[in-house]
């Protein structure tokens, strides 16, 4: 009898051990070193919090087994080759759900690779072809400027009347696409727009500033330039004697721009887009939740907050699908209502602009600094397409 019990225990042990060690990996991809590190690390923070929340509930049920969710991160270095290699490396670990990549150049490289590998990926790209119907496994964490640029410009013009603007952007796909979209939005509001391009990696913008000021614009828009770059541009514009308003109808990063440029007195008159209403205490509470579950501070601020809903929805879709098969998870995602406990109610958008409705559109914010005084971030509700 004793031998029989031992034999049963021996048979049961591996099964029990297996059930306890069941782990489902998801990917987090983006630049985690270099100038865009904040964005990639924000993707990682978003994936970590979404996974921790699910694990706190006991994990996800996959193919009949309850699994803990683990995050595997990959530094794509804001390069297309890095991002493509990342998609392949994650697929090699049987990872089919990726929170990332961030930029348009990364996204362009990931799309075909992810389609071939059967990976679902959430990008934060602003390119005009960031989403394409032929890549149905690609989702987008927030809409591009074409969806909200007009609203930001209209609000900015109430405080800062302007007739001309110079848009300063990097000369890659993100920059050129955003410059054309922002330029069209300014023109639609009666503002003459010119674009000034720079090579990503430029550290001293003094020559670019000289060119910009030669056109005597009423305002300068730093659009989708990296926050660190935008901070230097602001600093050098003010040093050169530019007193007009400076805008950012592009990615978030005002806190960093403020730090690099030298503070409110230097920034003085500023208007910008926030991907989420950052002054909302419920939005800010996301950081507390992260600290509670993961024991340290998240990276990112606004970018982290805006990437989180996509990661959370992926976890929900994963639970509903009961498998990490990207096609099945994507099918569930498309039917899910867009709602986040911290950000609020949103909509799927992108059909008109991209031809595919897989872009999250949540309430967002428009910030204004006037005469060196922060007037706050005004909440703007998302509108259905």
């Amino acid at each position: 009898m004793r031998h029989l019990l031992l034999a049963v225990a021996a048979i049961m042990l591996p099964a029990t051990a297996f059930a306890q060690s069941c782990e489902l990996k998801i990917g987090a991809m983006g630049p985690m070193s270099g100038g865009g590190a904040q964005w990639g690390l924000s993707m990682k923070s978003a994936a970590e919090l979404a996974a921790a929340e699910v694990n706190q509930q006991g994990g996800v049920k996959i193919d009949g087994k309850t699994c803990k969710v683990a995050v595997v991160s990959y530094d794509s270095k804001y390069t297309p080759d890095g991002a493509a290699a990342g998609a392949n490396a994650l697929a090699g670990q049987d990872i089919h759900l990726i929170i990332g990549p961030v930029g348009s150049v990364e996204n362009a490289a990931v799309k075909p690779v992810a389609a071939r590998n059967g990976e679902l990926a959430w990008n934060a790209a602003y390119a005009t072809n960031a989403q394409e119907p032929k890549y149905p496994l690609m989702f987008q964490v927030s809409p591009p400027p074409a969806i909200w640029a007009d609203l930001v410009i209209k609000r900015a013009m109430k405080t800062f009347p302007m007739k001309s603007v110079a848009i300063v952007v990097p000369n890659d796909q993100t920059g050129t696409d955003v410059a054309s979209v922002d330029g069209a939005a300014y023109k639609a509001n009666g503002v003459a727009a010119t674009s000034e391009f720079y090579q990503r990696g430029t550290t001293n913008f003094a020559p670019i500033i000289t060119r910009v000021l030669a056109t005597h614009p009423d305002a300068v828009d730093t659009a989708s330039s990296a926050p660190g770059d935008a901070g230097v541009i602001v600093k050098q514009l003010r040093l050169a004697g530019f007193t007009g308003p400076i805008g950012r109808v592009g990615g978030p990063g005002t806190a960093e721009i403020l730090r690099v440029s030298g503070g409110m007195d230097v920034l003085k008159d500023f208007y910008w887009y926030e991907a989420v209403p950052t002054d909302d205490p419920k939005v800010q509470a996301i950081d507390d939740e992260y600290r509670k579950l993961l024991g340290h501070d998240p990276v990112g601020g606004t970018t982290f907050w805006s990437y989180l809903p996509g990661a959370r929805m992926t976890m929900k879709a994963l639970q509903t699908a009961g498998t990490n098969d990207a096609d099945k998870v994507a099918a569930v995602l498309r039917t899910m209502p867009v709602e986040d406990p911290n950000i609020g109610k949103g909509y799927w958008t992108g059909k008109k602009y991209f031809g595919i409705q897989q872009t999250l559109f949540f309430p967002f914010g428009i910030g204004i600094i006037k005469d060196g005084k922060n007037l706050g971030v005004e909440r703007q509700e998302a509108q259905p397409e």
Partner: protein, 288 residues
């Protein structure tokens, strides 16, 4: 005319900063025969050390710059003595070692300080305006320090026994050693001088521009471009090329824009290499 004058001012200012970086880079190549891929890392480290001294230790900025110079010089000295020295003649190994050091430095700084830019401002603010032309006061101070440092380096290299020893090792290591010069003493010293120059530039320039874990990347590219243009291993060539690069970058960016401006510089270097492969003041590249 205003744009022309402004471009000239920007060009000279850029040139002085590039000269400090390029002199260190070419000093290491000229004397040790090592291409220092960690040069941008020492620039970055100089910035972070100065920032930490000001923000956490409350030191005045000039003292913080001095600490940054000593810290980057000391790290360079230790790195050369204990790691690089062991395989100084193996080009592939030194390449991997310096590249590895850069990755360790950038990842370490990213882990300690985070990915965001620091709030690090130059203590002197404002600009002098002459009609449409402006000269930032901080740039004038940095220019003065850069020119003084370049002059001091020239004096050390060309008017002291130490400098003669370093140049002798650069010219022909075997004969220099036969004359009693000791590479084990002079190589770490040369490396320390070069990394201290990079640290000085970082401590001076990052508060004017920005300080984040990615700021070392373009520094390496600029240093490389400058020393190739000047002639690998040539100190005079590197100094001259730095001002050429600064002025060409400023004028081409002002008149052709940021995209074509960057291209002009590379086309210039390519043309020069086709017609004068040894660079502006290049001699035969050392045979290490």
């Amino acid at each position: 005319m205003a744009e022309f004058s402004q471009a000239a001012i920007i060009g000279v200012s850029l040139g002085a900063q590039y000269a400090l970086l390029a002199l260190g880079f070419t000093l290491i190549f000229g004397i040790l025969g090592v291409v220092n891929f960690a040069h941008g890392g020492f620039y970055m480290l100089g910035g972070y050390v100065a920032y930490s001294c000001v923000a956490y230790a409350g030191l005045p900025y000039p003292l913080a710059v001095l600490v940054a110079v000593i810290a980057t010089g000391a790290l360079g000295w230790i790195f050369e003595l204990y790691l690089l020295e062991r395989m100084v003649d193996d080009h592939l190994a030194t390449l991997m070692l310096t590249l590895g050091l850069y990755l360790v430095m950038s990842t370490g700084l990213l882990t300690i300080f985070g990915p965001l830019s620091m709030e690090f401002a130059f203590p002197v603010k404002g600009a002098m305006h002459l009609g449409p032309i402006y000269v930032p006061r901080e740039n004038l101070i940095v220019l003065a320090i850069c020119l003084t440092t370049i002059a001091a380096l020239w004096l050390v290299l060309y008017r002291t026994d130490l400098g003669r020893g370093l140049r002798a090792l650069a010219d022909d290591r075997a004969i220099a050693m036969a004359q009693g010069l000791r590479p084990k003493l002079l190589f770490p010293l040369a490396f320390a001088i070069a990394t201290a120059l990079a640290g000085l530039t970082g401590a001076l320039v990052t508060p004017i521009l920005s300080l984040s874990p990615g700021v070392g990347d373009p520094v390496l590219a600029t240093s490389f471009l400058t020393v190739i243009l000047g002639g690998l291993g040539s100190l005079e060539g590197a100094a001259l090329a730095a001002f050429v690069v600064g002025v060409v970058e400023a004028f081409s960016s002002v008149y052709f824009g940021g995209s074509i401006g960057a291209l002009v510089l590379f086309v210039l270097v390519l043309l020069l290499l086709v017609f004068r492969p040894t660079g502006l003041l290049g001699r035969t590249v050392r045979g290490a």
